[in-house]
Structure formats: structure tokens, C-alpha cells
Subunit: 360 residues, 5 copies
Amino acid sequence: MKRKQPVKIKKTKLAKSFGKAPGTVVYIGEKEHLSTKIEIHDYTKDSYNITETDNIEDAFVFKGNDHTSWININGLSHTKEITRIGEFYGLHPLLLEDIVNTNQRAKIEEYETHIFLVLKMMYFNKKQEFTVEHISIVLGKGYVITFQESEEDIFDPLRSRISNSKSRIRNSSSDYLGYSLLDAVFDNYFVVIEHLGDKVELLEDELFNEKTNSNITQDIQSLKREILRIRRSVLPLREVIGRIIKSETDLIQEKNKDYFRDLYDHIIHVHENIDVYREMIWGLMDMYMTTISNKMNGIMKVLTIISTIFIPLTFIVGVYGMNFEYIPELKWKYSYYVLWGIMFLLFLALLIFFRKKKWL
Amino acid sequence: MKRKQPVKIKKTKLAKSFGKAPGTVVYIGEKEHLSTKIEIHDYTKDSYNITETDNIEDAFVFKGNDHTSWININGLSHTKEITRIGEFYGLHPLLLEDIVNTNQRAKIEEYETHIFLVLKMMYFNKKQEFTVEHISIVLGKGYVITFQESEEDIFDPLRSRISNSKSRIRNSSSDYLGYSLLDAVFDNYFVVIEHLGDKVELLEDELFNEKTNSNITQDIQSLKREILRIRRSVLPLREVIGRIIKSETDLIQEKNKDYFRDLYDHIIHVHENIDVYREMIWGLMDMYMTTISNKMNGIMKVLTIISTIFIPLTFIVGVYGMNFEYIPELKWKYSYYVLWGIMFLLFLALLIFFRKKKWL
Amino acid sequence: MKRKQPVKIKKTKLAKSFGKAPGTVVYIGEKEHLSTKIEIHDYTKDSYNITETDNIEDAFVFKGNDHTSWININGLSHTKEITRIGEFYGLHPLLLEDIVNTNQRAKIEEYETHIFLVLKMMYFNKKQEFTVEHISIVLGKGYVITFQESEEDIFDPLRSRISNSKSRIRNSSSDYLGYSLLDAVFDNYFVVIEHLGDKVELLEDELFNEKTNSNITQDIQSLKREILRIRRSVLPLREVIGRIIKSETDLIQEKNKDYFRDLYDHIIHVHENIDVYREMIWGLMDMYMTTISNKMNGIMKVLTIISTIFIPLTFIVGVYGMNFEYIPELKWKYSYYVLWGIMFLLFLALLIFFRKKKWL
Amino acid sequence: MKRKQPVKIKKTKLAKSFGKAPGTVVYIGEKEHLSTKIEIHDYTKDSYNITETDNIEDAFVFKGNDHTSWININGLSHTKEITRIGEFYGLHPLLLEDIVNTNQRAKIEEYETHIFLVLKMMYFNKKQEFTVEHISIVLGKGYVITFQESEEDIFDPLRSRISNSKSRIRNSSSDYLGYSLLDAVFDNYFVVIEHLGDKVELLEDELFNEKTNSNITQDIQSLKREILRIRRSVLPLREVIGRIIKSETDLIQEKNKDYFRDLYDHIIHVHENIDVYREMIWGLMDMYMTTISNKMNGIMKVLTIISTIFIPLTFIVGVYGMNFEYIPELKWKYSYYVLWGIMFLLFLALLIFFRKKKWL
Amino acid sequence: MKRKQPVKIKKTKLAKSFGKAPGTVVYIGEKEHLSTKIEIHDYTKDSYNITETDNIEDAFVFKGNDHTSWININGLSHTKEITRIGEFYGLHPLLLEDIVNTNQRAKIEEYETHIFLVLKMMYFNKKQEFTVEHISIVLGKGYVITFQESEEDIFDPLRSRISNSKSRIRNSSSDYLGYSLLDAVFDNYFVVIEHLGDKVELLEDELFNEKTNSNITQDIQSLKREILRIRRSVLPLREVIGRIIKSETDLIQEKNKDYFRDLYDHIIHVHENIDVYREMIWGLMDMYMTTISNKMNGIMKVLTIISTIFIPLTFIVGVYGMNFEYIPELKWKYSYYVLWGIMFLLFLALLIFFRKKKWL
């Protein structure tokens, strides 16, 4: 019952675009109420300007000068403003749809005047919560526009590099800025992956330390789901970056392609790590199964030892509890002590048997 | 016995085309008795005409004018009429066979004057039942013909867009109409996939909440089968849409190819989701197995605790139930109370043992 | 012991060709004693002749005329006659070896004057037994030669189509005849696959209906083996038909290639179905395992309930069976009834405990 | 402890070449003490000469004449002689290293004057032991040199064919001789594979006949290992033969390529069989698991039936073994018989209960 | 808690480069405190010079002469000196970053004047500990520079070969030196793989010898992890060496490419072995599961045999322990002996039953 609700919410979410004409710009995501904030970094080798505004038209000033501009748009729910900036920079309607559709998988599209990238950002936010965010990057001649769902700090180191006039970023063109943005996104992938590895190792420890409780199945399954989710985000990135490298666009200078090749390497590395952790998690499940089986064995051993020792002894004492009138042993004076002796020997014999069976 | 029957029905179904000359147009499906209904939307930018008829010849009027026509044919069992329209529009006999063979998998075939597509529609009908339907689309210059098994409402939003003279569909050529039809079909895939995801999550909840009954294996297996079925329908779509994009036909304008590229993205997205759910279902089975094993462990623990406590105690009381004439303890006044004391200590010792074993 | 024998037979079988020079035409198969029967259908649009004979030379008359001839040779053990017809029609020695080697997998070889195909036929014979048969097809200009192990009826519908002067087969060249033969073979694949699907479903039903007996593992394993066997036959067909389509031979007219493309579709469809059933069978094994585990749980529950109730009670009655002289309760008049009361309360308490554990 | 030794031997073996300059010809294998025996078959259509010698220089006479020579060198440990023949025939140093390194996987290398092949022979030797042997083949114009570890009889049928002046081998060039050698090697693969299939079937029988002992896990695992080992040998052969077919060398005549194509088919066939047996062995493991589980179920049933019947009965008789002074039933004359009746009814009730549970 | 720490250390490690500008040369590894030692082997056919120094500038002397120089740099934490040598030899900044980033996976990059390779060395150090080390190789015209984390002895045999004026290495150019270095690295892979194989076999032995303790799951899981780790290092090597072979650089002479082809073969061999061991380890887990299940069966059998024999007997003796006044058997003189007879027969009957069930 409790579960049903989020499911319904999802259906509502989807319903927003369902049946609409393709190319309709409808925000599909969960951060509805955030207003659109615009942050513009405009710089040359020598000058640096930073503007923060709520008015989308402030962003139009920077087009066409010989500066490099990074226009960072936070908040995707106000689709009207997204549409306006799209029109101003000549973006294709389908592309605008992708910007505001947070279900869109990573992809790249090349146009004459710009390259369009959709990615997933993954990071731990200030509260150390795992966060997946939709980000779109438009890389044009002299400008880079980024569209984010909410204002986050993963670009902070980049901001400080831009403010430093001696940084390579200030001395390079917009393609290097684009590369730096991607590099910042991918750096966070490594953090996420490493965190995942820690979780796998923690679970492994728990399993070995026999501190297993019934929740471990849930932990393994939820880890599995998380890994599948990350994998789905990373999977298309290989192709995305690969296509930038092979692209013949003049938006990316030949000398800067090495940087993108480096990104490609990073992605493959992330990918391989994910696959390794995936196999390890499957292995955990197997380990858990053997742990359960071993425990059951332990329980059964105790039961069997106790039963095997005492059931025959109980039989013996039962024999002499019978009320037959003629049981000669009953009359004999030392019967009781002899019986204890016999029972003790039987007990010893069984102990030796168990030791030989390696149950003790 | 009950089961045998549907199997026989299937064989009869197959028998219809079995041994016949290839190219023979025989309806293979389960909706035999439906008459063929034709619905024609004929429009230009400025005009819009809708015709509903039972007479196939009414559809021939619209060929050759400079309008765009969407001829929607519902009901495939009257193969004669299908053959007639096929002959009128110059469709290949094998193609007609594919239209009426509901077992045909998705495929694309390019001809000089038209492109032929076979697809599976998947949707929840008005009664919220999961429905798979065979649909064929012939995309020609100025016309699109669709062949459906039964009249359903997944194209309703499309119909209303056509009736709106300002919609892009009214202002575009027949290839955009074709795209819109495919888009409507694929939108429903997402709904189906999402529904699947809900089911997987519900099953997961049930497993965690220990509300497991023996039917859960059936649920998992039937979910697995459903996923395999959907996957089989989606698998060839990738190639189908990929071939439209790479096609050099002039039936699809270069400027509209972007829309088809978008469809391609959608299909890959659907595909990835299916694979994720598939892995999750396999994981569910594993989880269920560990749940069973854990339960067994619980049962065994109870049995072992009870047995381990009471079997030795029963032995002890058995000893003093023996009828030997010389058992000194029997005569001693406090024997009974001392024995209770000993048994209580043994009981405590075993409790401590179980607590150490973490069984309590 | 019983098993050893077929194995030895196999070795003998292999020994026949073992160590012989390659290209030696030795029949490798199990239908040794069948004589070679020849059946010749010679037809044009207007004429139709059918000849049945034991004399291989009767087949040589039909070469070179402008008719189309289908020469069907049944029985492969008389290799001399196979060799003679091979020499007459200019077939390569290695090709003759393939015709009589029933272990040969499906393949295609193109020669200047003919195309050579090896296939496996799969069908249910008149006695409804699953049969796999080796068939070779030589497709030349104006003639098609088929080599079968034994005379079977899967080509009967084809024979009646040939006898009908208005059929497409009578109005087409030998490549259409070749296609029709392949189509007949593939139609039977669908029947076999469907039968397989029925078996899978029957097994599933048995598992659900708890009618499980220990043979079900055997059934599953033998089903698995059967599927692997069919898969091995179907696997190379994709390439075989694919190569016909891509071939530049003039033996197959361009206009008839569509028919072969259709065959290609059929093969992919068969292939996908096999993979689905394969996954389902693997799923059955899992289901069976959980069924066993569930049963074990049921058995354990009964044991645990009975033991947990009666072992403590037996201890209690044991206590008052002791022969101590000073047990005050023994003397008290209502002890017996009070004890029954206590035991009944204990019984109730355990019932409540089991109900809480959901074991009852 | 016993196990450690072969491992150490292996390390010594490896140590031989470890750290040496690449191209150093060091024998790596286990048949150290065998002297090098040379066997030369020199033939034309009309003449045939066979020479057996220990002196490597006897082999040099046959180079350059217009005969075809097969120089078969047995024993690889005398690397000096290998080096000498290598120098005489102009073989690359790395190639010599491969000849004497029995760990080398199958490969092909083309040189201007010869083609070099490394293979694994697999066969059952005269004592019916499974043997894997390293063989290198140098195929040059007019000569074929084979390097074997030990003299074995798998080429015996070939020897007799060579001695027969009417055989195709006598009438063909050295490439046909090379093909015949490969064909002899591959024929033995089929024998090995078939033997493997027999083993799988035997194991399956054992499992079904319930003759399972604890060794079956070992049998399955060792079968698995054997299959992995064969697979590793066969895997590269596909590429090796494929490259001969695609090769543009004039050492292999175009008309003889068909023979190599036939070999390629054989290899694919072997490969497919291995994969099928592999899947079947994995299936065996599953079957074994269910067999164990079924047995456990059987054991549990017996335990549960006995316990469930006798534990309550034992409780009842315990009640009347109590020594209370006031148990009215004890005094009643027919109590004993009535109690037997009650216990018998209880016994019957439980039997009916078990029959309903299908445990009996 | 104990576990958390290494995880934190890792995070610190990563943090070093996190957020920095790409191309920043920061050492990422664990061997911080090692100073940079430089070892230069400068040789021609006739001369040989070896220099060991701490001063990076000593390495600059050797550039440009017609000798071949091997500059081996040990210790990567002093990034300044790495940067200086990088600048001197014209290495790309990103390349320097890869040299000091020990997390970098194997890769190859071709530049006009040099080829850059990153690899993982795997070996057992002098203390026989498994060690993975990061190594970068810069192969230029007349020089090879290697960057290692710590000074190790795997290149010792190579050093002695260089000192021998008649070795091929002294008579070849720098590409052969590069090959020899790679060959030394790969030789150690074989040792590691072989060691892994020994471990797998040891575990298998332990499983068969029933010396299983609960640690075996851990051993299997850690072996699995080790294999995944090695696999991740080996995986990219295939491509790395493959690209050297396909490269059109003039840094590697055509006649020496055969050596690299040989390396390629080695890598594939390593790869196949890893995959075989991987499958074997998965098989071990299965075997372990069946071992546990078999043990459980053994335990259950003992329990069931003991219970089945003694529970009915205990019931019987219980019957005659009842205190009814009228039990005729109690009075009869031979009752006791007859009862023993009956119980002995029951005992025998059960033994026969167990023998038939094959439990004894």
C-alpha cells in the first residue's frame, strides 16, 4: 500500500509528455519549484566577468564578442525561458526537449554551429547523499551553455580555475572549457565508484564476520540495483566521447583532442571498475548462500549430536522403568552402577564417533 | 488435460498456412470475426477530411492527389480486401502475407515507391489489460497506410493533433506522419516497461515483507516470461529504425531524419530498461531462494533448541523412573528438589550456549 | 552396461571414414539397408511428368532439356550410385562426401554451374516421432537434385503444388523450386519449435500443480539437450541463407531473392524462439529447486511442530514417573488434573507461537 | 603435500626459458630423454623412398629435387639438431623457439618460402590414454617438415596412403600432403570429442540411476577441466585454418583450397560440439544438486514420519507411567486395552495425514 | 570500524588530484617517500656504459649521440624531476600525468618522436609477495626511458644480457630494447598466472580431501577478486600490443615486428589462461556448495537412523512402564525376554530398511 504511491507519482510524471506532439518542451523531473538562475562567466586571457541573474535576457549580451562565455543555467522547470535561450542560440526543438527531460539517456548530437551533449552527473552532495542529476551541455564557438537541474558545487574547483588568469582554461578556447566541465563530471564518477567499492567491501566484511542478519539480502539487492543504475548512465558515455574524438567538427581543435582521448580512457576505466564490482556483488550472493548453508550445518550438527547421544540412553533407562514382574536385573544390587558405567561407555563411543566425523 | 486444448488450438492456427504456397495471404491470428473497418484522414495544411467506411474502394479515391492521407485499416481477417488494397497500391505479395501474419516479427522493407514496416504495438487497453497487437505501416509518397488487428485508442492523441490545423503534423509531409505513428507506438512501450518495473518492485516488497507464499515462484517465472516476450518484440526495432536512418530513400526528408534518430534513442532506452529489469528478476529468484533458506534456518533453530533442552532432561528423569531395587538417591529426602536444581542449571547452561551461538 | 552399446556402435560408425583419404565417399549414418529410390518431377508451364525408378541412369535423360526437373534421391547408403550421379552432374568429390555424411552440419557452397546446400530436416513423422534427417540440395540451371536419407512426406504439399499447372512453381524457374523446398523444410522447424514450447509449458504446469515426481529433472535435462540439438542445426542456417541472398550467382534471379529474404526472416524468428525457450527451461530448473526447498520447509515444519509440542510434555510426565520416595505432588489428590491443565495450557501457548511464526 | 610436487616441476620447467633472451631455443616439455629420430618419405608419382635415421644431415639431401618430401622429426629435446635443420631450411629463430616450446598455443605464420603451423594433437594412444602432443608443421615448396614430441601412430593411415602409388597424395603437390597431415590431426579431435560425449552421457546415467557417490562432483569438475583444456586447443584453430584459406601464398594451389575449407568446417563442427557438451556438463551439476536435495527430502520424510507417529504415542504412555496416587484410569480394568485402541486410531490418522501430504 | 580506515586513506589519495586542472602532474600512489634514482645503460655494439645517479640532469647527456640508451627512473613521487625529464624529451603534459598516476590503466600513445606505453608489472618480489607496479615506457629513436615506482629485480636478466656484447640486444636498435623490456614484464605474467593455477588446484584438493573449513569461501572469493584484478590489467594489453604491430611508425623496424607479434601471442595465451582459471574458480564455488550439501546429507542420515531406531523402541518400553493395574503381560514370566526379542527383530528390520535405502 505504502509502496503504491511513488509508483503513481511516476505515472503522473510520465503522463505530462504522454501523447503530446514530439518536440514539445515539457519538464520531466522532480525539482519542479526551483526558479531558473543564470550564472555567466565571461572571460578572455586578460579579463574576467561573472554575472548572476534571474533574467534570461542578460545572457544574450555575451554572444558574438570574442570572449569565451560559460552560461550556466540552473533549474529546468521554467520551460519558457529554456525555450527562449534555445531560440536565441538556434537550438533544435527536439534538443530543447532533451534538456528538460531528465529521463533522457546520455547522448551527443552535432550541429553545424554547436555540439549538444546530455549527461548524468553523479555525486555526493553537501549532505553526503548520492545524487544523480541531469545535465546538458551546448558547446559552441566562444560559448558553452550548461543546463542543470539544481545548483550544485561540483563545478566549484572549475570556477576558481577560471578566476585564475594564469590557468590553462583562461588561455584556451571554448572547447577546452567544455572538456574541463566533462572532466569535472567524470571525476565525480570515480568518487561514486570508489564509494560503491567501499560498500561492497563492507558487505564482504559483514559476511565474513558472521554478523549476518536477514537484511543482508536486501543490502546486496539494493547494491545490485544501484550498480545497474550507474552502469546504465555510464554505458552510453563511451560512445558519446568516442564520437567527439572521431568528429570532424572545427568546434574542437585538433590539439585539444588529446584531452578528450584522456576522458575516453577515464570512461573505460570507470566501466571496467563497475563490471568488476558487479561480478563481486554476484559473488557476495553466492557467499551469503554458503554462509546460510554452513550455519544450517552447524545447527544440524548440534541437534544430531544431542539426539544421537541421548535418545539411545533414554531408551535404556526406559527399559528398566518397565513394570514387568520378572526382570532379573532389577533385583541385582549393582545393576544401577553397572548401567551408569555402560551408559558412560556408550557416551564416550559416540563422542569418538563424532570426533572422527569431525563434528566436534 | 485442461492444458492440452489451447495447444491444439495453436496447431490448428498454424495449420492454416502450413504447406500452402509461399505468398499465400492467410490471416494468422486470433481475432477472426472482426470485420474490416477503414478510417481515412486526408489533409493538407488548410483542409481536413475524415472518412469512415466498410468499403475498401472508398480508400482508392485519395491516391494521387497532393494531399496527405492516413488510411487506417482495422481487422485483418478479411484477406480479400487486404489483397485488393495491396494490389491497388502495388504492394508485393510476400508483404501482404506479413501484414496478416500476426506471428511475423518486426521488420522493415524498402521498395521504390514505399517503405514497409511491421511492428508490435504493446499497450494497456481500456480495461487495463496488457495487449500485444500486430501493426503494419506502409509509408508512401503522400500516404501512410496502417493495418491493425483491432480498433484501439493509442492513436487518439494523434487524431486530435491532425485535426488541429496549426500542428506540425498538418504542416509536414507523410514521413512526419509516419514518424508520429511510430512515436505513439513507442510511447506505449515506455508505459508497459514502467508497469513492468512496478511489478518487479512489488514482488521485491513482498519478498522483503516476508509475506511470501508459494505463488511467488509462479509470479517471478511469469514476469520472466513476460519480459522475454517484450524483449523479443523490441529486439528487432533497433535495426528497423536504424535502417530508416541510414536509408537513402527520398521518401523521408533529410530534415526529418532527426526525428527518427530520436526514436532510435527511445528504443535503446527501452532496451536498456528491459535488460535492467531482467537482471533484477533473476536477482529476485536468488533472493527468494535465500528467503526460503533463512526460513528453514529459523525452523531448524526452534527444533534444535527445544530438542537440545528437553531430550537430556527427559533422559535424567528417565533414570529415576527405573525400577532397580538399589538406587540410593531414591531414598534420600531432598533428591527431588536437588534434581530440579540440577535440571534448572542445565537449562540455563543451554540458554547461554544458544545465546553464544546467536540462535536466541 | 545397456548404455555402452550405442556408444560402441557410434565408434564403429566413425571408424568407417576414419583414416581414409579425404574425399572418399563413405555413407555415415544409420539407415544402411535402404535401397536408393529415385523420383523425378519434370515439368514446364504446360507439361508435367513424374518418374519413379531404382535405376540411377533414368535420371540422366532430363538434363539439358528446357524443362525444370526435380530429382529426389532417397537412400544414401549406395554410394556408388551417388557417385555416378555426382559425376554426371559434375559435382565435386568433397561435395559427394558431404551428401552421404549425415554428421555434416548445414553449409552452402557455390560453384559455377550449381549451388550446393546441406541442411537438417526436422519433423514429426507419421508416427509422430521427432525425426532429424540429413538432406542435401543441388540447385542448378533447370534442375534441383535433393538427396534424402529416407522417403518422407514433408514434401507432399509441394508435390501437389507442382502437379497443379496454375501454381507459381510451374510458372517459375528452378530457383523458385529450390526456395519452395527450403520453405517446406523451414515450415517444419516451426512445428518442432512449437512442440517444444508445448513441452516447456506442460513441465511448467506440472511444477505448479505440485505433481512433481523425481523424473522431472530428467525431463528438464532431456528438454535442454533437445533444444541444444535443434539450436546446433539452426545456428548455421542463418549464414547459409544469408549467403544465398548476398550471392552474385545468376542461378537465382534477382526478383526471386525476396523469397529468400523471407526465409532469412523465418530463420531469425526460429532462432529467437529457441533462445526464449532455452532461457525458460533454465528458469524451470530454478523453479524446481525452489519447489523442492519449499517442500522441505513443509516437512520440517511438521517435524518441528510435533517435536516442539510433545518433547516438553514428555519431559513433564517423565518427572512424575520418577520413583523418588519424597515427591510431595504425588500424594496430592488433584495433582493429576492440575497437570493435565498445565500441559493443555502449554499446548495452547505453542499453538499461538506457531501461528505467530506463520507455520500453521 | 603430494600435490605440491608436480607444481614444483612445472616451475622448474618454466624456469628453463625464464629470463633468457627471446629467440633462445630451449625445449619446454616433459619428454626430455627422447633422442631425435628422423623419418623421411620422399616420393614422386612414380617413385617412393622411406629413410629412417638419427642423423639430422640425412634430411638435407632431399631439398631441391623435384620430389615431394615429408620429413618427420620425433623428439624435441635435442635443440641443437632442431636449430641445424632450422638453419638449413631458413626458418626464423622465433619459429624454432615455438617448435620446442610445448606451451605454445596453435598459430600460423606465413613466410615467403614456407608456412609455419603450430598445433596440438589430441588422441588416445595405444594404451588408450588421452594424450596431448605439440606438433609443428613447416609447409614449403616440395617439402613438409613435421616436428613431434614422440613417435605416435596417428599418421599411420597416411603412411600407407603415401606408399600406394595410385593415391591422390602421390599425385598431388606438397600442399595436399600438408592438408592430409592436418586432416589426420583433426580426425583425432572428433574421436576425443566423441569420447567426451560418452563420458557426459555415462555421468548422466549414473545420476539418473541414483548410483551417486560423493565422487561424482570430482568427475564433473574434472570433465569440466578437460573440456576447458580441449577448448583452449581448438579455439585458435579456427583462425589458423581461416588464414590459410584467405592467404595469397602460392604455396597452396587454388584448386586445393577446397580441402582446407573442408577442414575449416570440421573445426567449426568440433567447436560447436565442445560448446554443447560444456553446457550439458553445467547442466549435470544442477541435476546433481537437485538429486542431493531430493535425497535429503527423502531422508527428512522418514525422520518426520517416524517422529510424528511415535513422539505423541510416547507422551501418552508416559502419562500413565506417572506415579500419582490418584489417577482414576489406572484402576479401571479395561484402560490398557482402550489406550491401545486410542493409540491405534491416532496411528491411522497420522498415516492418512501423510498419505494426503503425499509422503507415503 | 577497523575497515573504514584504509577506505579513508584511499579517499585522501584520490583527493590529491581531485578538482585540479587536468594535466597537473601529481603522484597518485603509495610509495611516497622513495627518492628518485636514475640508472642509465648507454651502449653501442662495441661500448657499454652504466651510470647510477640521483641527479636527473645526468640523464640529459646521452640524448642525441648514436648510442642506444636505457634510462630507468625509479621512484615517482618527486614529480618535479619527472616534469623536467619530460620537458627535456618533449613529452606531452597529459603523458606525464599518466606516468605518475598509478591508477592509470595500460595504454599506448603514439607521438611523432616517441611511443608512450603504460603497463602494470606483476611479479613476486624477493620476499615472494605478489606485487603490482605501475611502469611507463617511452620508446624513442636511440633511447628508451622507463619510469618505475620502486627498484625491482625483474629486469636483472636483461641487464646481464645488455652487458654481454654478443647478445642480440647489443646488436639491435632501441625498438629491440623496448621489446626486451616488454618481454621481461610479460614473462612475469606467466609466473603469476601459474601461481594462480597452483592456488586453484590447492583449493580443489582441499575441497576433495574434505578438509573444508569455513574459510574456504573466503579463499575462493579472494581468489576471484585477485583474478578479476589481474584480468583488468591484462585486458587492455591486447590492444596496446596490437596497435604497436599495426602502427606505421618508423620507430619500430619492420624486421622487428615479428617480435611484437610474438608478444601478442603471449598476451592472448595469458588471457585464455585467466579465463580458464576464472571458470574453474566459479566451478569451485559450485563444488563447495555440493560438498556442504553432501555433509548435511551425512548428518541428517545419522540423525534419522538413530531416531528411527530408538524412538519406536522407547515407545515400546514406555508402554510397559505404565502403571495400569491390569496389564496381563506384566505378570507373565517371559514377557521381558520376549520383548527383547521383538525389539531386536525391529532393530534388524530397520537396519535392512536403511541398507535398502543405501544409507548404511
